[in-house]
Every structure is written in structure tokens, then in C-alpha cells.
Symmetry: C2
Subunit: 569 residues, 2 copies
């Protein structure tokens, strides 16, 4: 009879406990959770704060009682492991209700401690109006603050998933919101030109977006009541004031009522490191593909560990629910004698922001550059379904691929409709080792309400294949902006589009329908950088010109991508 | 300079023309279309009839003029090829405007004639109130009928894609609708228990659904004006009457005003067979993987050809827009010296029906049985996204897979939200040669508005993997209905669910939370067929019981699938 002890009762830990019982009816399974709740929906917290998820109970997926009755798992909430004795295979545990400290032995131990919100050492940060959001008590505190103090203005620090979701939640509740982000973009998993779509969406939704701006100090305002307020006229409204005065990295100040810290998370590794388990280069617990730590009887899963990146094979920290669940299930199998292997993490992720979504899988351009991995990139902007059927919205898709063999390195998409589907399709294709040629041939569901006979992903595959086969030489915005004396820019859109949408100053305009008859206006000794609105007509023009003996390249994604790259926030 | 002539100007032909020009600026490209329109959105026709697509012009994607100016393609509408002289490589063409017959030579010929609606030899079928729907003039005639004759009741014959879309379109316009289907189910690409979801949806939307019922005669009613009507009182309403009296295969009659024939299509092969091109066993034009017919200078694409089925390799007729577009592109490359190969057809397809969608890819159970291909099957019913976030709806997914290696043979899904995404994911996985084990490990986008940490597809993969690994022995509805003396049925749902949802008469009810304590109530010498609502608790129970020495199998998809199988319409 194997005795399994699991530290941490959320995603990875809870999955492991349930799976372990299904694998072995005889195993003794103890799940220790230092907090009050197990298996709660932490991804749902911002949506209960916004009010979209009405019932708090809806977030509590399992209880200690349901775990006991269904899975015969001994769940102990408010029980915190304070030390691991690996030699004796024994834990020291503090019961936070009885304050008792007791011991528990294990045959196999699973660490699923998660990650904790980063709280930088900023003056004044320990303030009742400054919140993190990681668990149910955090959420309760934010909600209590909203109800009790009726803040008018909130400041979200950090533009990652939780930061953006909280911006939306607070706007949804009618607060004015400032968003501070130290980097030059929100949503680190995507590249800046894609993030610029989010920046525009934030501005459109009246969010005070401040990029390259950090928080350096928090001061609580003493509420100075004016003499007129010190009366017995209780109905008289208190004049507006802010609870906090923030100092920002540009030395400006910002009056606000509430701060949400969403700078990021760091793996919870204190227990692991104190008992001498090996950590990885990024500070997470090191595990092998079987989820074993450096101690063969201790496994670890979830936000606390490092896994291999699917593309590069390098260690990565990926604090996402999906991988944590799968790792928990796999660790349970292996603790009970299995030999299953985890197959790297792509980091597939999505974030809703107001009416749009942004999603990505694999590596982005920043990481590819940083790791010196060779890549090509293309952009397409295509309707989410047949454009003649109501409700179609453009999807902007960026595809990164290997110049040698066409393997998919990464993909990013943004839009109002169908973004999740396209990144899911690309995540599967990437995991299967497909190439951009395969993408062109994918057979996806098509009827006018759902897609197009040539879907966004098919089209991205075709464009990328054209690049690899040399059927099209592409150029990018930076090429247009570093124009040499031997290059000219040719815009093949119709003059009306240039007026309506915008144009590039030094471009010659010859609309595509006239191009074949006006070839004599173009020089053969210069390289023509072609552009249209989204890249399709530019491709047609490019093919035409090259065959007529011109040197030509097409701006990938057209003027629409050019605008994304050049947007400034 | 290659001279390419293309017969047919819609999906496959239009794609080929555009691609050919991009490949070769010097090729002479002529596209002959016997009708008035090229490159129109035939998938959009029902939605213009319904009124959802307001503008008829939205369906006209390209014109002869736009093809000429953009692609330098000589498009000749109203020009019908009446004979192909393969030896002389010359076409006889009738110009339907001038009535002139002329000749045109070709170096490479592409046949993209499409398919024509099947019109069975039924008495009275050539009637002004009986319509097919294949092209713009068909649509115009239906709309004219609706406007002029203000029909109250319509009868759709055939429950395939177009039939179902027309049922919805006509209901959307407020007509009463009868749907006649000769088979025992609508939507042939899915199996009957999945089609039963559609049958219910039709009934819920007040469609008079008549399965196993064909049309045998059409009689136009002579409007007998009552004497009272023959007056000079022009404002007096004409009493209600029906334009048509239909005779059905069960000898009943049906009064209706309008008939839409949507029985199916047959490949247009008259030109091909008259000039001696080889046809395939299903009556389509035979082509190799390079889209070449039995004449090396003649290619064919689209609804008129047979392609290899992805799973079985057998010839198949798949009249879908996506494959036609890709084949057209590929044929253009090959006509201009390329050597690209078409990689079989999965038949991925989707149909909207009122607020729901049904989709499939690969082979269904019927075809697997017919072709004696061994398979296993499982069902899951899972929320389209995190169930605690508003707007989640259950997706019913049926997965068919190879019992030996776990390869995906086919998948079908139905639901209100996210059906297209799941079948797309499975279509990519199938094409990539993935197994059900791979499905369990897929990393898909997850945030509460879009999915679940363990997505529908992940869960289907896990359930299927459990079956293959022997972690769960499943049973199906037919096993419960053919119960032997050595089997008993155990329902592990809560008593309240049985009352609310329904129960199986001869089942013992032991709720899962009590099961571990009530094992002594169950016999070890019998096989226990377990069920719950959707199959999850049944799995937990099954694992528990097997480990305690019982023989147990779990009903895949639970009582919900049982109800689907047993529904009668």
C-alpha cells in the first residue's frame, strides 16, 4: 500500500489526488493545503470581481468533503507543511486551526505549491488598499474593498493575463482605471506589434495606459476633512478624495483608490530548496520528464516547476492551468509505478480583453531573437468567417516558422471572433511537427457562419509556403523605414483607400488593376517594395512584377501590419 | 507560353485561374462558364434567402471584369463547352448570348464543372413551385416565389447540408416547414444518435420532421375559387389554399406551397465521359493525386471528381468548397509544370441548425462498419468552456479510433458553442496521424471564456486512452438493452437526478459517494454495467469496483448518450 502525500490542493495537486485514486484503490492519499480552499477556479477570480460570474460558490469546484466521498482522499485544509525530512521521508506540518505541529510520513511526495504573486519592495506597498489576486481570500478582500470603500479609480500594476483581466473587470464595474506596465508592451507572450492591438483596445475603453512606467512608492492619503464637512449635516456628501497617492518611475504622481499588483508570479520553492531539492536555472523546481525531482520519491508539478520548452528544449516557467492539470495526472501515474513522460510545454495561452481575444502558442519573435533561433515571419489579416455572413471580424495572425524546413515555431493571433480556434489549430499542428506546407492543406470545418473555404490558417500556411519556396520575397516595416537609394515603395491600393486609411509618404501609388498596363513607369534597376492593405494584392503584384523582370518584395500583412508596428502608446 | 482553358468558374475553377496567373504571367488563361456568374458564394445562398445576408451583391465575390483586371484572365460567361476533342486538343463552345458555336484550342484543360442537384423522376416534379438550390438563378427563383406567392408552408426534401440550411432559412422567414428524409436520419455524415440531437432541434423549432419518408408525386392544385370570391370586391381576401398537393412514400398527402429539392448532388461528368475520360467507381471523374485525369493534358477538380478518403484510401465523392479550392490551386501549379500531390480528403464539414452546430471529420461508425474497419468509440459531454463562466453549453463529442494503435478514425460533435473549434482540432490531429494519447496531451488555449484547463478534446483523448490501456472497459447502450442473466446495471447518479432526468428500469441505484461503503450489496459473480449522467462518475466507480475484485464496465457517455441512442422521431 503506497502512501502518497500531496502538498497543495489546487490544479496540479487536486488532479493528482483524483487520478491517484482511480489508479489505486488501496493507496493512502493525503492532500495538505495551507489555505482554506482546494480545487477552486483561480482563473475565474477576475470574473467574479467583475460581476460576470455572479455566484462565489461557482468558483469552488470541489470541497474536502466531496474529495473524501468520491475519491477517499484525506484532504486537510489549513494544514501547512513547514519542513520535509527527506531521509526519514517525513513531513512537519502545522495545523493552522489547532496550532498543533505534527508529523506525517510518506512513500511518495508530490509538491504542487504553485507560485506566489511578486510583491516588490516598494515603500508603502503593505497597504490595505493594495491587493494581489491569487486565491479566494485575495478575491474576497478586493470585493470587500470595492463594496466598503466604493473606489472611483483603480490602478493595476502589470499588464499580463491577470493585470489585463482585472483592468477589464474594474472597468466593467465602472471604475476609472490606470494600467502601469514597466515594459514597452502589455502581454509579454506576444510581440509588441501584436500587443499594440491591445494597447489600442485599452485606450478605446478609456483605460489610462502608461507603458514603461513602474510604481515606486505608495502613500496613503490622510483624509483632510474640510471645516465645512465637520458639521452635523450627515447627509452632506464627503468631497471626493483618493485613498492613495502613488509615485511612479517617471517621478509623476497618481491619485488612486485601489491598487492591484499583477506584476507576475514566482515559483513557490521554499520547501523544496530548504530540503535540498535541486532548482533549475530559472528558479523553479527541477524535474525530469516523469515529474521526478532530484529526490526519486518526490515529484513536483505546476507553477513551481521548470519544464522543457517545446521549441527550444530550454527550461521554462509556464504558470498555466492546463499543463498543471496534465502534470498532476501524470505524476500520479508515475508515483504509482507508471512510467509516463511529459512532452514539453508550448505555453499555449489566451486572454480576453473587452470584446477581443489575444492568444499565442510556441515562441515569439522576441524569444527567437534572444535565443538566436533562425526564423521567418508572415502576417495575415483575414475574416473570422465568410465575410459576406454577418458577424465576421478580421483576425490578425502572425506566424513564425523555420526557414529551413517550415516547422512552426510560434503563432500569435488577435481579434474579436475565432482567435481561440486558430491558435488551437496551430498549437496542434505545432505539437504534431507539421510544417507551413501542411497548414495550407488542412481541412477545417467550413460553412459561412464558422469559417472560410480558405481559412485564416490555410492562408497563413500558403503565404508562408510561398516565402519558403521563393514564390514571394517578403519585406517588413523596418525595410520600408530603412529605404536605400536602390529601393522604391510601390503602393498598389486604390487611391480612395490611401485617403481613407492612410499612406506612406514616399510611396508611388499604382492600383493593382492598372499595374500590368503601367509597368513602364517602374524602374528595373531598383528593388520595388510593394504594399497593399493586408498583403494579398501585394502578392499578386509581386508575382506579376518578378515575372516581368523586376526585383520586387511584398510587405507581409500590408499597411495594416505597418500601422500595428508603428503605433505608439 | 502555355494556354490553359478552365471549364467552370466557381470554387475550383476560379481558384485555379487566380493561382495560374500568379505562377505564370505569360500563360494564356481562359475561363469558360456556362452560367452568368463566376466565383459566387454558393454556400451563402440559403442565408440570403433567409434574409440574414441582406445584400445579393455580397454573394458575388468576383466578376469577369475583376478577373480580367487583376489576373488577366479571359472570363467568358454564358459560354458552354459542348464537346472536347482530345486528339486535336480543341473545344467546341456555344456562346449562349450570340448563339454562335466556336472552337478554342488548349494546351492544358481543367474541368471544374461541379455537381448538379439530383432531380428524381417523380411525377409532376417539373413545377414552378418546385426548386433546387445550386446557384444564383436558383436562389433568385426561390426568392421570387417567396415574394410573389407568399407561401405559408414549404416542404424541404432531403436533410443534408442544404436541406437543413433551407429548413432554417424558411423558418426564419416565418414559413411552416415540413422536412422529408428518406433515410432514418438527417445529416448523413454523422451517425444516427448524433443526428437525433438535430431531430430534437428540428422538432423544438416546430419543423414537421418526417423521417423514412420520400416524395412520390407532385400535383399542382387548381385554385377553385368559391362563388363568393367571384365578385367585384377586390379587397376581399382569397381564402387560404395550397399551391401543391404532395404524395409521400407512405401514401399520405401533404398540402404545401413550395418544395425545395435538396436530395443531394451528382458529379457533372457528361463532358468528361463523352470525350472518353475514365470515371471512378462512384461515377465521378477519376484523377490521380496530381489532379490529372486519364488524359495527361486534362485535369479535373472539385465536386465532379473522386478523391481518396483519408482514412480508408477508398475513392470518395466529397462535394465541399474547401477541398475544391485547394485542388484548383494545386491543379494550376501542376498544369504549369509543378508536381504537387493532393493528400486525400477527410470530409471535414459543419452545418448550422438554428442555435446549434453539428460537425464531423473522418469516417463515421456507419462507414467503418460497412467497410469492416475495426474501431472503438467513446462519447463525452463537456462544457464548451469553464462551466462557471457565463455562456457555457455542453458539447457532445463522439470519437472513433483504431483499437490497435489509437489513431483517430473519425469524430463528430454537436452543441451550441465551440463545435467548429473541436472538430478543427480533431481534423488537424487526424491529418497529422496523432493518436488518442496525443489528444490527451494537447495544449489548447484556456481562459474561462474560451475553454477549460481540461478541454473537451483532452477529455475525449483521456477517456479513449483509458479504453485502450484497459483502465476502463466500456459498454454501450446496446449492451444495456441486451442484458444477460450474468449482468446487472448499476446507476451511480444521485436519486434526484434519476427523478429529474430519467432512469433505466432495471438498474440498481447506488450513488457514487456511497458506493465505497456499499460494495457488499453488489455481486462479484456478475458483470456490473455502470452508468452515470455523462460517464465521468461511472468511470470513477468502475475503477473502484474493478480494484475491489468486481467485473465492471462503464457506459460511455452515460445516460445522456443512452437517451440520444433511444430517441425516436
Amino acid at each position: 500500500m503506497t502512501k502518497i502525500v500531496i502538498i497543495g490542493g489546487v490544479a496540479g495537486g487536486a488532479s493528482a489526488a483524483a487520478r491517484a485514486r482511480r489508479v489505486s484503490e488501496t493507496a493512502e492519499i493525503i492532500m495538505l493545503e495551507r489555505g482554506e480552499f482546494v480545487s477552486f477556479a483561480n482563473c475565474g477570480l477576475p470574473y467574479h470581481i467583475s460581476g460576470e460570474i455572479e455566484s462565489r460558490d461557482a468558483l469552488l469546484l470541489q470541497t474536502p468533503e466531496s474529495f473524501k466521498s468520491r475519491f477517499n482522499v484525506d484532504v486537510r485544509v489549513f494544514n501547512e507543511v513547514i519542513a520535509i525530512d527527506r531521509q526519514a521521508k517525513r513531513l512537519n506540518i502545522r495545523n493552522h486551526i489547532t496550532h498543533e505541529i505534527y508529523q506525517e510520513s510518506y512513500d511518495k511526495l508530490l509538491l504542487s505549491p504553485g507560485a506566489s504573486p511578486i510583491k516588490p519592495p516598494i515603500s508603502g506597498i503593505n497597504n490595505q488598499f493594495v491587493h494581489s489576486l491569487r486565491n479566494i481570500p485575495d478575491m474576497d478582500r478586493v470585493l470587500a474593498n470595492l463594496v466598503l470603500h466604493k473606489p472611483k479609480h483603480a490602478t493595476v500594476v502589470g499588464g499580463g493575463f491577470i493585470g489585463l483581466e482585472m483592468v477589464e473587470a474594474l472597468r466593467h464595474r465602472g471604475l476609472e482605471v490606470s494600467l502601469l506596465e514597466l515594459a514597452d508592451q502589455v502581454m509579454g507572450p506576444v510581440d509588441i506589434e501584436m500587443a499594440n492591438i491591445l494597447h489600442q483596445k485599452l485606450v478605446d475603453n478609456k483605460v489610462d495606459l502608461r507603458l514603461k512606467t513602474g510604481l515606486t512608492a505608495v502613500n496613503e492619503c490622510q483624509i483632510q476633512l474640510a471645516e465645512a464637512d465637520i458639521t452635523d449635516d450627515y447627509d452632506k456628501p464627503v468631497p471626493p478624495h483618493s485613498h492613495l497617492q502613488l509615485t511612479l518611475s517617471d517621478n509623476s504622481t497618481l491619485a488612486t483608490d485601489l491598487v492591484i499588483l499583477a506584476i507576475g508570479v514566482k515559483p513557490e520553492t521554499s520547501l523544496a530548496s530548504e530540503c535540498g531539492l535541486v532548482l533549475g536555472p530559472l528558479g523553479g523546481i527541477r524535474v525530469d520528464a516523469g515529474m521526478r525531482t532530484s529526490d526519486a520519491d518526490i515529484y513536483a508539478v505546476g507553477d513551481a516547476i521548470e519544464t522543457a520548452d517545446f521549441v527550444s528544449g530550454n527550461p521554462s516557467l509556464v504558470p498555466l492551468a492546463g499543463p498543471a492539470n496534465r502534470q498532476g495526472r501524470l505524476a500520479a501515474d508515475n508515483m504509482l509505478g507508471g512510467d509516463r513522460l511529459y512532452r514539453a510545454t508550448q505555453g499555449t495561452a489566451i486572454c480576453k480583453l473587452f470584446d477581443m481575444a489575444i492568444a499565442s502558442t510556441g515562441l515569439n519573435e522576441k524569444s527567437l531573437l534572444r535565443q538566436a533561433i533562425p526564423f521567418e515571419k508572415i502576417y495575415v489579416h483575414t475574416a473570422s468567417h465568410a465575410s459576406y455572413y454577418p458577424g465576421a471580424h478580421p483576425i490578425t495572425l502572425k506566424l513564425l516558422f523555420c526557414p529551413d524546413n517550415g516547422r512552426i515555431l510560434g503563432a500569435q493571433a488577435a481579434g474579436i471572433d475565432g482567435v481561440d480556434k486558430r491558435i488551437d489549430v496551430l498549437a496542434v499542428a505545432q505539437r504534431a511537427g507539421m510544417t507551413v506546407y501542411d497548414l495550407a492543406d488542412l481541412e477545417l470545418t467550413y460553412a459561412p457562419p464558422f469559417g472560410s473555404a480558405r481559412d485564416v490558417v490555410n492562408q497563413a500556411g500558403m503565404v508562408a509556403a510561398n516565402v519558403l519556396l521563393g514564390d514571394e520575397v517578403t519585406c517588413h516595416t523596418q525595410d520600408l523605414q530603412a529605404l536605400t537609394a536602390t529601393q522604391i515603395i510601390v503602393d498598389v491600393r486604390n487611391p480612395g483607400e490611401l485617403t481613407a486609411v492612410g499612406a506612406i509618404d514616399n510611396a508611388i501609388n499604382i492600383p493593382l488593376p492598372q499595374l500590368r498596363d503601367r509597368l513602364n513607369e517602374l524602374p528595373k534597376d531598383k528593388e520595388l517594395l510593394l504594399l497593399c492593405q493586408v498583403g494579398l494584392r501585394g502578392h499578386v503584384a509581386c508575382r506579376m512584377l518578378v515575372q516581368h523582370g523586376f526585383k520586387a518584395r511584398n510587405l507581409s500583412g500590408g499597411y495594416k501590419t505597418y500601422q500595428m508596428v508603428n503605433a505608439r502608446f
